[in-house]
């Protein structure tokens, strides 16, 4: 028992509420020292930082602030050891359900002395600290194995594609760098030429650039940060802008918090129950000879390509003129989720024939009036449904993104120290300490824990070593 306790001197954090949509999310932090960390960022309604003297099982209302910017209004529940789920000092932060906000909070704590919990780690701690019965051991083990499995699957699916390739490049470059350093250390007696300090500096700078670029791409996960791209397309004057304005009108206050985080202007971002959607308004698509309008239309096609979802707006009055099969056969629509929005239903007397028509064509459609606001909520529900069912947008994403972010931050710090080390002319054995730290953290993402064999392997394959 004693021996376990000492292992848990690290403070762990993770979202505690289930994946999916919720107005409110709970983030759990466990470990001695978590009160002090939270107190640095929490400000009670009275403007005081007084989390520390709160009693156990109390709830405090206030804001989490970082560098004078409010992240969110939160409720913090405090549990003093041993009266908590894990048996350790624990906080539960209830915040708004937005993935963006949850990510912000998790990353703030990770940058200030916490680390992300491993799958099932709260439960493991609870068990080892005597909070769960021994008979539950099997169940606890199953939970850990299962959570780890799903986390692994997610991490794996995330690591396919671009990120994986970039991380692999990064790790290889780091191993290369480490092998240059180690070559000098372990093979000083060999007849090989060693890297010049200038070359090493250039290499570290290159690695730093790579790490920073990767870090930025991971910092909140592009999808969370920028929202899910939704293109609004359609012929001119079908009511695209009216629709956008109607959708946005109630939400401005909330989205204003992430000003500057999206590439497009703030008016284009909508927060539906914690999920952020970035609406791309496009120029109307039609055949034209006007050069300027042509440029606008070709831009529209580009923007549609960026989007995951296309809302194709048409007017209830001109359905007859449209050949949807032809419209959607264009390259820009390939792989998109397309929803036809039939606008201006306030101008038609009967909906039924229209609905039947779309059913026959097997095209997903919603019938609304942007002007009167009728059925607008259907669009929100539809978007939300699509997102939730796609299941990439859940808490696991926060965790795995934050994990990557955390690892890359540590790698960046280590590389900066390496650079300082080279400048102050310290020898390779000390440089190696920092390089290995960077490699360790990257290995936390890629699962490549063993370092020495890779370094030695690189040395043996590149240099003629051995008497």
């Amino acid at each position: 028992m004693e021996s376990y306790k000492s292992i848990f001197n690290e403070i762990i954090i993770a979202p505690a509420t289930a994946s999916g949509v919720g107005a409110i999310a709970v983030i759990r932090i466990s470990g001695q020292g978590c009160f002090e960390i939270a107190n640095n960022f929490f400000e009670g309604k009275n403007g005081k930082k007084n989390l520390l003297n709160k009693k156990t099982h109390t709830i405090s209302f206030g804001t989490l602030k970082h560098e004078n910017k409010i992240i969110d209004e939160v409720l913090i529940s405090k549990f003093i050891s041993p009266h908590s789920y894990t048996g350790e000092d624990t906080l539960e932060i209830s915040c708004h359900g937005s993935l963006y906000i949850q990510s912000k909070i998790v990353q703030l704590f990770c940058a200030n002395g916490c680390r992300l919990a491993n799958p099932g780690e709260f439960t493991l701690r609870a068990f080892l600290n005597g909070k769960l019965d021994l008979s539950q051991a099997e169940a606890v083990a199953d939970v850990i194995a299962a959570e780890s499995e799903s986390a692994h699957n997610l991490a794996f699916s995330q690591l396919r594609g671009g990120f994986a390739a970039e991380l692999k490049t990064l790790r290889n470059e780091l191993i290369n760098f480490a092998s240059l350093i180690e070559l000098e250390l372990d093979f000083a007696e060999e007849d090989v030429s060693f890297a010049k300090r200038d070359d090493l500096t250039a290499l570290v700078n290159k690695l730093l650039k790579l790490v920073i670029a990767l870090k930025n791409s991971f910092s909140l996960g592009n999808t969370i940060k920028n929202g899910i791209a939704v293109a609004i397309a359609g012929r001119p004057n079908v009511g695209k802008s009216t629709l956008l304005n109607s959708l946005l009108k109630e939400e401005r206050a909330i989205v204003s918090e992430i000003a500057g985080t999206t590439r497009d202007s703030i008016e284009d971002v909508l927060n539906i129950k914690g999920y952020i959607f970035r609406f791309i308004d496009t120029a109307g698509i039609r055949e034209t000879n006007d050069t300027i309008e042509k440029i606008g239309i070709s831009k529209t096609f580009e923007k549609i390509k960026e989007a995951k979802v296309v809302l194709y707006i048409c007017s209830a009055l001109e359905i007859e003129d449209l050949n949807f099969n032809e419209i959607f056969s264009g390259n820009e629509f390939i792989g998109k989720k397309i929803i036809v929005i039939v606008n201006k239903i306030d101008l038609v007397s009967e909906l039924k024939p229209l609905e039947n028509r779309f059913k026959e064509m097997d095209i997903e459609s919603l019938f609304i009036s942007a002007k009167s606001g009728e059925n607008l909520h259907l669009i929100e529900e539809k978007l939300l449904n699509l997102t939730v069912n796609r299941s990439i947008e859940n808490n696991d994403l926060i965790v795995s993104n934050s994990r990557h972010y955390e690892a890359l931050i540590h790698a960046e710090i280590a590389l900066e120290k390496t650079l300082v080390g080279i400048e102050s002319n310290i020898t390779g054995d000390f440089l190696a300490q920092d390089i290995r730290t960077a490699l360790y953290h990257i290995g936390q993402i890629t699962g490549q824990i063993e370092i020495d064999r890779d370094i030695l392997g690189t040395i043996f394959s590149k240099f003629c070593i051995g008497k």
Binding site: M1, S3, Y4, S6, I7, N118, P119, G120, E121, L124, F127, L128, N129, G130, L134, A137, E138, V140, A141, D142, I144, A145, E147, S148, E149, H152, E182, E184, L185, D186, F187, A188, E189, E190, D191, S424, N425, I426, T427, G428, D429, F430, A432, Q433, R436, I449, E450, D452, I455, L456, G457, F460, S461, C464, I465, G466, K467
Partner: protein
Amino acid sequence: MKNSYDVIVVGAGHAGCESAAAAANMGSKVLLITMNMQTIAQMSCNPAMGGIAKGQIVREIDALGGYSGIVSDSSAIQFRMLNLSKGPAMWSPRCQSDRMRFAEQWRLMLENTPNVDFWQDMVSEIIVENDKAVGVKTSLGIEFHSKAVVLTNGTFLNGVIHIGEKQLGGGRSGEKASKGITEQLISLGFDSGRMKTGTPPRIDGRSLDYSFMEEQAGDEHPGKFSFTDTKPLTKQLSCWITYTNDEVHDILKTGFDQSPMYQGRIQGLGPRYCPSIEDKITRFAERNRHQLFIEPEGWNTVEIYLNGFSTSLPMEVQQKALEKIPGFKNAKMFRPGYAIEYDYFPPTQLDLTLQTNKIENLYFAGQINGTTGYEEAACQGFMAGINSHLKINSLPPFILSRSDAYIGVLIDDLVTKGTDEPYRMFTSRAEYRILLRQDNADIRLTQKGFDLGLISNERYTAFQEKLANITTIVKAIKETSVSPEEMNTNLESVGSAPIVQKVKAASVLSRPNVSLKEFANADVYASINVFSIEEQEQAEIDIKYSSYIQKEQDAAIKQSQTENIKIRSDIDFKNIVSLSSEAKDKFSKIKPQTIGQAARISGISPADISVLMIHLGR
């Protein structure tokens, strides 16, 4: 004839000798069996001890009370401290040895160790009762009984020597191989494999023209390995450096069609860091020369060892190629280079004391475990000797952690990860490299050696005095201030900024380029200079590199928390349903002894470790 012992050690190479000495010095009755009493502690490869990472191991063995350091010091013909331009963790002692004196010194030290008996014979079988080793049978038909058996067979198990198309059974040039043990162990359920290594030709030094070569002399102020009162060298022999060239390479290539390597006659895996000359010119074809070291084999012999020219090509090709090396025009060969293939047993079948998982009280040490190198072998033998003694006396095992010693890194690597090529120590294998220095080996380990009974009271008293002196020096440097007048001239001379007011000596010493020497004009130096160079150096390193040392110490402490959670030996991993199947297999096979060790097994996830911890209960 007495035929009952506590510990029987099979093989009298570096591993066997250290093993016998350690067990005997702890009080066990030991029988050392070797196939040839004339080749005890034979240096079968190059005549040198130590080197980068290896020198640290010799210092560690010495600090714990083993013999390798003393033997090396008293048989050295040249001493160099390698890597002095790097940080202190990289400083690595290395000596050239007089091959014959080295072996003689070992034999004399063993003969003077009470409790060691010798027997010349070939062991053909281990006597096993109820899965316990209880003795050995020899080719002369004798049965020796014991409580534990340490196998240190080196390259002798089914050894096959290759020279060109010739194949000879043998464990070393001119010595026969050992048969029977591998077959018996396999029938007992052990896995075995083949490895290969090689040596270069030996040459008559009188036939060489040294004017074509660069001289490599020993250190001006030679150091030594042992922390005991052995004497540093007062005169030394030089080595010589020369290079191969395209002509040499071309001749070597003519023998490739008869090469046992390229014709597939050798199946065993060789070390990538010790390639044969034919490997070098094939894999690094762009290089038009390779460095060669001419190493004298002793004070009086004319034989030289051509380091860097390991080969198994036909003898005639070796000779012809040699003659094209600068300085080798008239070279006379004493014996050709050869490759040797031998059996080893993947070391994942051992526990951290080097006892086999299958057979109790049976220990493996040295090349039988897939390692290479005298130092690697010696330290394993030493640890197996200690642990066999502890085991048969029902005492707790002696295990060094990865932050205690390179010896700990080596054994943990072998037992936890295994090896598929001959394992040699490199400093990069150690995650706590800054802690595992040659200068502090005694500080790390001599207390442990004393607790084991391997360090004399006299030596222990001196050791404690050294510790006290270092503390005094550190205190003086940390607490005494130095003034600009005392320091600035010397600071300027090493290019360090002058100080403007009185500051603590420690803060100046922490600067790059500044050493204790720069304090020569300061009052504090007078109080320091009364202590030995080693003590001053120790204090200097402690202060100068404290931030790096601290970082690794913190990491080591964190690591030790998982290292301290023991896994019961009777745990049945296959029955832990939540473990991944890979973890079940690997845990069952490797049988990790601590949570820390389990976590280092490749392919094991944090979740597996969590599940395992839950099953250990709280």
